[in-house]
């Protein structure tokens, strides 16, 4: 199924509303056509000076058409937007459910903020499909057909002429515009890319350019590229001009040729004289039906790009599979065991971690260290069952792959690199971890994670909004809020996945101390690339290239002279003054 068709399919329950909007849109244009056609007939007839009563219906019709156009247009926009918003919600829910199923590890959007923003923008852009493509196109089709039928009924030849003109203006011209646009885009893509990096260089790198006296040269380069781009745009300007001209020409020719066939028809009595003005003016009025089609074609092209990216998410392969029939967890003491576990991100990709064997009896605390790319976060994903594994990874004897998601979450919680602060109140942000926590519990946990000073400054206490529309938080404060969630959830097993990654060293070291102190007594997997403060954990596991290269207690490893002791020397030196 093509990505655009898929979008349409998602909005299927809204099709009746879309159809109604398109029908109302057709009525609005129909009123314009009707107004001009009826008026033309009316004054032709009136010039024959019949008794005025015979024209009464026409007088009423003209006024009704005059009134109807605005009213129908207004209703069309209301119904159309309503349907578009309903479809948007459906698509949002569908995308979200798919993302939830894929899990945080399944798609790259959670690793790069710009991809996430773009995905959300792409989903939002899908509104253009009903509003700017489907509704105008159906309206145009309905009213175009109606006008052609009317002309054909009056004089068959005029109907055929009108049909040809409308197809040229409403189908051929938009199609040509789209093709020309795509060509121009392809031709200028390279130059555009170059210009864009040159503009970025001057704006972002102005310091470097000025300091080394190369700013003028960089501006000259950008100017040269800009000239080239302007020159390239000349062809597409001509194409766009030709398209506009063609539209005008098609409708104008229809007027002239309709007259050429209608004049003899009037003279030999096949067409009543009063219909001549109608035949002459009908193409002008009906052209309004197709006037929106070139921009509809452009909208369709951009919706297609967005739909393609949305489809990529919907079609992304699963990296984790929920058990068909989950095995209930026995009431055990919650010990985890990994035996020769390996895992990878793509079904046929290279193994990111291999031969991982790890014992986590209750209360055991282990630190996983190693350079970036060693497989630390992959191990975390396996422990949280965000990623499928091979080998045996069990909790109280049941493999993680057979445990239901709810059961696993009631045992294991985690603190990630970038915990999200939701755009809601402090309380709501914490209640994610424990729905029924009391205010006293929340206040207590805020104090436990040493957020008292920050909390004291909040204007509305627990009801203060945070996140995008609320109070900003520093990176350290965000991590402490996330730690508060973990403590509130009160799970026996905690995975700490590089919680200090984006913090400066002083903040990081203070947080590390608190993390280790506050998770005391729980089974803890502490993943970090900084080796400070690990003296008290039960075991340190050094990962490199996805395999365990060294393991043991801090005191033993320091003297072992292996990778750990070498890396430690560097990290202690790197501490800030």
């Amino acid at each position: 199924m093509s990505p655009v068709r898929r979008l349409l399919h998602v909005s299927r329950p809204e099709w009746p509303r879309l159809a109604l909007a398109a029908f109302l849109g057709a009525l609005a244009i129909g009123c314009a056509v009707g107004l001009l056609a009826t008026s033309a007939w009316l004054i032709s007839e009136a010039s024959l000076r019949p008794p005025i009563l015979t024209l009464e219906v026409a007088f009423v019709a003209v006024r009704a058409f005059g009134l109807g156009r605005g009213v129908f247009r207004y209703s069309e926009r209301i119904v159309g937007h309503d349907a578009a918003f309903r479809s948007l919600t459906r698509l949002r829910v569908l995308v979200y459910e798919r993302l939830a199923q894929l899990g945080p590890s399944g798609v790259p959007v959670f690793r790069r903020g710009d991809l996430l923003t773009r995905l959300v923008a792409d989903v939002d852009a899908s509104q253009d499909l009903p509003l700017r493509v489907v509704i105008p196109a159906i309206s145009a089709l309905l009213i175009g057909t109606g006008s052609v039928v009317l002309a054909y009924w009056l004089l068959p030849a005029a109907g055929i002429i009108l049909a040809i003109a409308l197809v040229i203006a409403g189908v051929v011209v938009p199609w040509l515009t789209t093709i020309a646009g795509r060509r121009a885009e392809r031709r200028s893509a390279m130059t555009r890319g170059r210009l864009s990096s040159e503009v970025v260089e001057v704006l972002v790198g102005s310091g470097d350019l000025l300091a080394f006296g190369t700013a003028d040269a960089a501006i000259d380069r950008a100017r040269e590229t800009d000239r080239e781009l302007t020159k390239l745009s000349a062809t597409s300007a001509a194409a766009s001009g030709v398209a506009s001209a063609l539209s005008v020409l098609a409708i104008g020719t229809a007027v002239v040729t309709s007259l050429l066939v209608a004049i003899p028809a009037v003279l030999d009595g096949r067409l009543p004289g009063t219909a001549l003005a109608v035949i002459a003016l009908l193409p002008l009025a009906a052209s309004e039906a197709v006037v929106a089609m070139p921009s509809a074609a452009l909208s369709l092209a951009s919706v297609r790009t967005s739909a393609l990216r949305v489809s990529e998410v919907l079609d992304a392969p699963d990296v984790v599979h929920a058990p068909a029939v989950p095995t209930p967890l026995p009431t055990g003491e919650r010990s985890l065991q990994l035996r020769d576990v390996r895992a990878r991100w793509a079904p046929d990709g290279p193994w990111t971690i291999e031969d991982i064997t790890l014992d986590l009896p209750p209360g055991h605390r282990v630190a996983i260290v190693g350079p970036s790319g060693a497989g630390k976060s992959t191990l975390a994903a396996v422990l949280l069952h965000f990623l499928d594994h091979e080998g045996s990874a069990t909790i109280d004897g049941v493999d993680l792959a057979d445990v239901s998601d709810d059961d696993l979450r009631s045992v294991v919680s985690a603190l990630t690199q970038d915990p999200h602060v939701f755009d809601t109140t402090v309380a709501e942000n914490l209640l994610i971890a424990k729905r029924d926590a009391t205010d006293d519990e929340l206040l207590a946990v805020i104090s436990t994670v040493h957020l008292d000073a920050w909390f004291a400054d909040l204007p509305n206490g627990l009801r203060t909004p945070l996140g995008a529309h609320g109070t900003g938080m520093s990176g350290g404060e965000q991590q402490r809020l996330a730690l508060a969630r973990v403590l509130l959830a009160d799970r026996p097993v905690v995975v700490l996945d590089e919680p200090t990654e984006h913090l400066d060293t002083a903040t990081a070291d203070a947080l590390t101390t608190d993390l280790l102190a506050l998770t005391q007594g729980r089974t803890t997997v502490f993943i970090t690339h900084r080796l400070v403060g690990l003296a008290e954990v039960d075991e340190i596991v050094v990962l490199e290239g996805g395999r365990i290269v060294e393991r043991g207690r801090h005191t033993d490893l320091v003297t072992a002279g292996g990778p750990y002791s070498r890396a430690l020397a560097l990290d202690v030196q790197a501490g800030d003054l």
Partner: protein
């Protein structure tokens, strides 16, 4: 939004030429519209009333065909000119922006979120195409056509002209009135709408967090509910804001209907000629058409102007007054005396550097230390002439005893004697050698030597293509550490007597740091004055003077 932003005329000069074209095209279009109505009326009445055949009507039919061709030609001209002018205007805006940006300097420019600005200046202002192609010409037509058409109708039928003259001005009046009435209601809804529309992004971004607590799946229902709320709230706003276009359409079509009815009645009564009636009937909708089109194109145009507006904001920022003296004394052996130097970026925020007084001694290594936000990098910005002190001054005493104030010198000339390793260097796309040379003429051997000194020997396995190693935009393909080493090499290659290093050893391993320290010592040995913003002990250890910001000077101190 102003219909025609005067700043567009000022910063994008091609707009003026385009306006002239649009006015000429608009006037010709208006005349052709009138002529077309006459031709149609003549042909219809010729056959209908006088029984003329195609041969007898040939002149009128040929005239009509000629009008059609002429209108097509005008459509081509208008569209083509719009695209060309738009391309030129965008180019002019970009050119102006880049020139202005460089003159503002990196410190002031940083207030404008440069990454976003760059996107706006390339993709963003593409939305101006719609402004030029569809909005401006319609705006011109909306002024000319009603006037020409209205006067023509006035000459034919007073009553119809009066209907147009009364209703046409009502359209903008009503739109403004309805706009004023609705804007307060719309504004009230706006905050709610903003909150609701961000919800999807918020929930998707928070999905990993929700998943950890097993709450990801339950959020789908909340998305559904918020989507419903958003729809209802938006529809409440739209029901009001679509009213203005309802008023426009109603007025426009009802007036045409009124005119049709009134001429119909007069025709029946014998008070009017069919030819005149037809001309009036064909022309009446044309009087309203451009105004309706302007309304329809308003949003597309607003988007383009919005993007351009952000560019104007930068262009409107006044340029700093910079020194003009080009007789910069040689800096070798020069002393820099900071006398109560404060730097404030803008009035609302605390100064970046406050009353700093210290001396940078010639031929020695001065380390700047202090907590983040103390103004360490700002000191370097002042020495680079990126920003002038808002208070106090930097006195320069050259070896020959010539004194001067840093601000008085032309920064471009001044910077020829300064070399700099920024905190986050920007490397343009090109080869490794290009990045190190940065415009300096130097042999490959010299470049390789500078790289070796900076701790990035080109026979390193990480650089398979040596000096020809390609670098992507903004140093893509190199690690943060490698970028810093390239920036250090770039600075070392430049024979400058004043060398400024901003945290040169951050993100480097011990071995490379040792090379950096050695490089700094070599610079000192060759007589250079070195100022280094330092975090790590190794660099502070070799400093002759340590300046702690806010200013405390420790002579010859060694902190470890």
């Amino acid at each position: 939004m102003k219909p025609l932003d005067p700043r567009l005329l000022r910063y994008a000069r091609s707009t003026r030429a385009f306006l002239v074209v649009a006015i000429v095209v608009g006037a010709l279009t208006a005349v052709l519209v009138v002529l077309q109505a006459y031709a149609l009326a003549d042909i219809v009445t010729g056959t209908f009333q006088h029984g003329l055949d195609v041969d007898a009507l040939r002149p009128a039919l040929v005239a009509l065909a000629a009008i059609v061709v002429a209108r097509a030609a005008l459509a081509f001209l208008s569209d083509w000119a719009a695209q060309r002018s738009s391309a030129r205007a965008k180019s002019q805006l970009r050119e102006g922006l880049l020139a202005h940006a460089v003159q503002l300097g990196p410190v002031r420019l940083a207030q404008h979120r440069t990454g976003e600005l760059a996107t706006l200046a390339t993709r963003g202002i593409d939305a101006l195409d719609a402004y030029y192609a569809r909005y401006l010409p319609q705006l011109v037509l909306a002024v000319i056509v009603p006037l020409v058409v209205g006067l023509t109708i006035l000459g034919l039928d007073l009553l119809s002209a009066v209907i147009i003259a009364v209703t046409l001005p009502l359209i903008p009046v009503f739109m403004v009135l309805i706009g004023m009435y609705t804007s307060s209601r719309v504004d009230r809804q706006w905050r709610t709408l903003g909150l609701l529309s961000g919800h999807f992004l918020d929930v998707v971004a928070g999905l990993p967090t929700l998943a950890v607590f097993g709450r990801a799946k339950s959020q789908a229902q909340s998305l559904r509910n918020v989507g419903e709320e958003y729809r209802k709230a938006t529809m409440r706003v739209l029901r009001i804001s679509f009213l203005s276009s309802l008023a426009l359409e109603l007025l426009a079509t009802l007036s045409v209907a009124l005119i049709a009815v009134s001429i119909g009645i007069r025709l029946v009564n014998g008070g009017m000629d069919l030819r005149v009636a037809l001309v009036v009937l064909i022309l009446a909708p044309e009087a309203y058409l451009p105004l309706r089109m302007v309304g329809a194109q308003f949003h597309a145009a607003a988007e383009g102007l919005g993007a351009a507006g952000r560019v104007f904001d930068v262009l409107d920022e006044p340029l700093p007054v910079v020194g003009t003296r080009t007789d910069v004394p040689p800096m070798l052996g020069a002393r820099f005396r900071f006398e109560g130097v404060s730097v404030a970026y803008d009035d609302d925020r605390a100064p970046a550097l406050e009353r700093a007084s210290f001396v940078i001694e010639p031929g020695r290594v001065t380390a700047l230390i202090g907590p983040s936000g103390a103004g360490k990098s700002t000191v370097l910005s002042v020495l680079l002439g990126f920003i002038a002190p808002s208070e106090g001054c930097v006195q320069i005493e050259s070896a020959e005893g010539v004194a001067g104030i840093l601000d008085n010198f032309d920064p471009q000339v001044w910077r020829e004697q300064v070399s700099w390793v920024p905190q986050s260097p920007y490397l343009a796309a090109g080869t490794l050698a290009d990045a190190v040379r940065a415009g300096m003429p130097a042999t490959d051997d010299e470049v390789a030597e500078a790289l070796r000194e900076a701790g990035l020997p080109i026979d390193d396995a990480a650089l398979p293509f040596g000096l020809a190693t390609p670098i992507g935009d903004a140093g893509a393909g190199l690690s943060a550490g490698q970028r810093r080493r390239v920036a250090l090499a770039r600075a070392l290659l430049r024979p400058a007597p004043l060398v400024l290093l901003d945290e040169p050893s951050a993100a480097l391993d011990l071995e490379t740091e040792a090379r950096v320290v050695a490089a700094v010592e070599r610079l000192r040995a060759s007589g250079c004055t070195v100022v280094v913003v330092a975090h790590r002990p190794a660099l502070v250890a070799i400093a002759d003077v340590v300046v702690e910001l806010p200013t405390v000077v420790v002579e010859g101190a060694v902190l470890s």
